[in-house]
């Protein structure tokens, strides 16, 4: 065998493991997804071709639009909260001299804890007779219907999810801060820049890649919320906390309509992708620290 052929064989040999893996775990589901989206199937028997029926039905489905608005509302609450929180955390961590890893790890605990477990805990904390409402009632005579008010429930879920992700996103921003050379700040100080100016003109522009990463991760997350509403609100009150993931799950496994759920998944992914493209276009900047 010539060297060329040997190398070729070796190359294919190495790549084949990946190709094989991809074919099974990516290719097969991908093809199956298209089959499902354009047919009607009920887990049993053969799928029946229905063309664009699922998609047409989807855009006429009032619940779909409700879920879409819910997701937008979740992002409206979650993105500023988590970004602001993570930024504060990163800046504080950057200033700290001691116990840095300890603090960072403490915040990460929230991120790795079980969704089911903390959902139960938050449910108790925020319940009508939970510690927060007891305190408010005893001292101010009011209570906040955290999960039971249609307009508040999504905000409460956003608070929970923020709690979970502040540490993780904070670390991403922190690593961005670490990469900024100190000399830039020193030069700015010589020119008489205030803290505020330094933050706006140096810090924020230079951590742009980290900011974009955090934004994209949190947008993706907004489209994937499941455990918290599933455990606590069941999508209510008045469908106001129903998310795409819950709607898909219920449609596939409770309404026994996996085809419609697949069409829903495809459209959700496209919306998700579209928003990410938009954010990258508007926020992302080329950054090079020389």
């Amino acid at each position: 065998m010539s060297l060329r052929r040997k190398e070729k064989a070796l190359g294919w040999g190495i790549v084949s493991i990946y190709l094989f893996y991809t074919a099974i775990f990516w290719g097969y589901p991908f093809i199956w997804m298209f089959i499902l989206a354009f047919t009607k199937w009920n887990f049993f028997g053969k799928p029946r071709f229905t063309g664009f029926n699922n998609f047409i039905k989807l855009f006429q489905d009032p619940v779909f639009w409700e879920v879409f608005l819910n997701t937008l509302r979740f992002m409206l609450y979650f993105l500023p909260m988590v970004f602001f929180g993570a930024m504060l955390f990163a800046l504080a961590l950057n200033k700290m001299k001691y116990f840095k890893s300890f603090v960072a790890l403490s915040f990460l605990v929230a991120n790795i804890s079980s969704g089911v477990a903390y959902s139960i805990i938050f449910q108790n904390i925020f319940s009508d007779i939970g510690p927060i409402n007891r305190f408010l009632y005893d001292h101010f005579g009011v209570t906040i219907p955290w999960f039971s008010s249609p307009s508040l429930a999504m905000l409460t879920i956003a608070i929970m999810v923020t709690w979970k992700f502040v540490g993780y996103y904070g670390l991403i921003l922190y690593s961005g801060l670490q990469a900024i050379p100190k000399s830039l700040y020193e030069a700015a100080e010589l020119d008489g820049a205030t803290r505020w100016v330094k933050f706006w003109k140096i810090t924020l522009p230079l951590i742009n890649p980290a900011v974009v990463t955090v934004l994209i991760l949190s947008i993706n997350l907004s489209f994937g919320i499941f455990t918290e509403p599933y455990m606590i609100t069941g999508g209510g009150p008045m469908n106001k906390t129903l998310t795409f993931m819950m709607y898909m799950y219920n449609t596939a496994f409770r309404r026994i309509n996996p085809s419609y759920a697949t069409a829903l998944a495809i459209v959700t992914a496209l919306i998700n992708f579209g928003i990410i493209l938009l954010v990258r276009r508007t926020v992302e900047k080329e950054v090079s620290i020389v």
Binding site: F44, N124, D128, Y137, P145, G236
Partner: protein, 419 residues
């Protein structure tokens, strides 16, 4: 002679390797139910070397339904599965995935029904004139009241009617601290079983809320129940979110519970366990006191899948388990849930449990009056509509009970017709 023996051994080996019929059997992922099935399956397998039951619990997934559906889709589904609720059975039947037992086994099916005194119980399980499910247990949902707290407030029997509940509520409610009763079960679709549907059955002597594929719950009974909800919330006598274990913590004096909760309360709140008083759900004021009160049955059963290769053998196994009342006695002992049979309070085999455990006796006495949910394929959508158009508007006082009922029935009918 020796040659013959060798041949016989070889033949036996071939039979044992190729002739064994395997039946895949799934049961609820619940430790108590596992404890019940384990020795039974072992015993059967020892007695029937040619028909082996491959038993396992329903694989871990978001829900039993998810696990079973994905297994069917993958062609690796069970032959028999327990833990099937009526709505899921209706869906499976519509798909053609399960077998109508009465059609497949004829008199043999009715023999089992008779042997287990299920003539009355099975009535609630008819679907298109056939029976696809063999109900295993039936949990009548009943109200638990805190005897200690009731007595403290000067009440020596639990309230029977709505007015009596109001009277109690006026006396014991402390805003944000203590309420008379829990009526709103939660925001999930299945929660409607445990509030509106239960109270509707109680008010109407177990009348159906969906009849001939049409919603009928905007009748006088539905109106009374909806008004009960409305009044309780309007006066602040109950709340939406009561936290975990409100009954045990004394946040409420009474609430709807299932028998599966006994073990939990006994273990975690032994003092509270001693002062439970069991009563049927409250009824409208004009409900005659001499009539029994009906309630909702949280009930699950087993189904036989149409993909099963050895249906006759599978049925033999089912028959073997459920024709023997001793097995139901063991079931009671382990799970504390009443088997779906009509003779628990009269059959001497169960006497021991009825006499020794007053809570079980109270529960068992309602099995005959416990009605399963409507057998429809759209349970989740129907009950979501009930939540969105009936319960939530009433609970949040956004519309009158009558308006909400009208709207909910209209929406539910839309869903039923779209099928």
């Amino acid at each position: 002679m020796r040659k013959l023996l060798v041949w016989l051994v070889v033949l036996a080996l071939i039979v044992s390797v190729f002739g064994v019929k395997k039946i895949v059997f799934w049961t609820a992922p619940n430790p108590l139910q596992e404890e019940f099935w384990k020795p039974l399956v072992k015993q059967w397998n020892e007695q029937h070397p040619d028909v082996q039951i491959e038993w396992s619990v329903i694989p871990a997934a978001g829900s039993s339904e998810e696990a079973i559906l994905t297994a069917i889709a993958a062609g690796r589904g069970p032959d028999i599965s327990t833990n099937i609720f009526s709505g899921f059975a209706a869906q499976l039947a519509e798909m053609g995935a399960i077998v109508p037992l009465d059609k497949e086994f004829g008199d043999d099916f009715w023999e089992v029904i008779k042997a287990r005194s299920m003539e009355n119980v099975i009535k609630g399980w008819g679907l298109d004139g056939h029976y696809y499910v063999l109900p295993i247990y039936s949990n009548p949902m009943l109200f638990w009241w805190r005897k200690d707290l009731l007595e403290e407030a000067g009440f020596f029997t639990p309230p029977r009617t709505y007015s009596q509940v109001y009277k109690l509520a006026e006396k014991v409610t402390i805003p944000k601290k203590r309420y008379a009763i829990k009526v709103f079960a939660g925001k999930n679709w299945w929660d409607r079983w445990f509030d509106f549907i239960t109270l509707y059955y109680a008010a109407s002597e177990g009348a159906p809320y969906i009849k001939n594929n049409k919603a009928v719950f905007n009748n006088e009974y539905g109106k009374k129940v909806a008004n009960f909800f409305y009044t309780l919330f309007k006066n602040g006598w109950t709340a939406i979110d009561l936290g975990k274990d409100p009954f045990e913590k004394g946040t409420i004096l009474g609430g709807l519970m299932g028998p599966w909760h006994f073990n939990y309360t006994k273990e975690h709140y032994p003092e509270v366990y001693k002062s439970i008083e069991i009563a049927p759900p409250p009824v409208p004021d004009d409900y005659p006191s001499y009539k029994p009160v009906y309630t909702f049955a949280d009930t699950k059963g087993l189904v036989l899948f149409s993909t099963c290769k050895y249906k006759k053998e599978a049925w033999e196994f089912i028959k073997w388990v459920f024709s023997n009342p001793e097995n139901d006695a063991r079931w009671i002992e382990i799970t504390k849930m009443p088997p779906a049979r009509g003779d628990i309070t009269t059959n001497p085999i169960f006497k021991k449990y009825v006499e020794n455990d007053p809570y079980f006796a109270a529960t068992a006495s309602y099995v005959a009056y416990a009605v399963p949910p409507a057998l429809i394929t759209t349970t989740i959508d129907v009950q979501n509509a009930m939540t969105n158009y009936l319960i939530e508007p009433v609970v949040y006082q956004k519309s009158t009970p009558e308006e909400a009922l009208g709207k909910a029935v209209k929406e539910v009918n839309k869903i039923l017709l779209s099928q």
